[in-house]
Symmetry: C2
Subunit: 122 residues, 2 copies
């Protein structure tokens, strides 16, 4: 790939996932060099979990995968933007987007699935 992404000291960059059609910002997660490679190879969004310390594919257990339309890099090459087709919803709370609340606590998001039904086995 042409742009040399700066993964920094911890080997991770933040990645913003945005719905390629509606423009809705869905989530932010972290990406390692390997996660970026897998994302490009497979055409499905991969991230790196800092809490579980492992590479993960979005939707691997829930089925709520993100198909990649385009990966963009910012001016400093230390942040990514995934333009995606989101299956069902991005958020584990059942909302379409993780940004379903204002900072004042008002719920402005769309609930698209029941998390108890989807994440039952975990």
């Amino acid at each position: 790939m042409t742009v040399d992404v700066d993964f920094g000291e911890d080997g991770l960059v933040p990645a913003v996932a945005q719905d390629a059609d509606s423009g809705e910002v869905l989530m932010l997660a972290y990406v390692s060099s390997e996660a970026l490679e897998r994302t490009i190879e497979t055409g499905r969004a991969h991230y790196y979990s800092r809490s579980r310390d492992e590479l993960w594919e979005k939707g691997a257990s829930s089925g709520h995968t993100q198909e990649i339309r385009e990966v963009r890099v910012d001016c400093d090459a230390d942040t990514l933007l995934y333009l995606v087709d989101q299956n069902v919803g991005a958020c584990h709370t059942g909302h379409r987007s993780c940004f379903y609340r204002t900072v004042e606590g008002e719920n402005v998001g769309e609930r698209v699935f029941d998390p108890d039904a989807v994440y039952d086995d975990e």
Copy 2:
């Protein structure tokens, strides 16, 4: 404010700035507790520079301020989304958005000002 933002060990959270009208993702920068307070108080986007180690107001020198329409918080309360009216352009390279390149290096962004003219005095 109702949502208790988790500023973590380093006291910072990433904040995504999105054009409130077009939905374009403009930039990602970091926000301290004080930067968030200033953002809410003034209605203009403030961030915290990790390299300069200081609070800054977006556009304070360039005039390319971001007027806040809404601040959102994600499900884990450790990432913010600023919905803004962006004056001119968000990126110091002269592009409307910092995400003006694909990871393959193709320029897909809109150039809206000449950075040499704007940042001449710095």
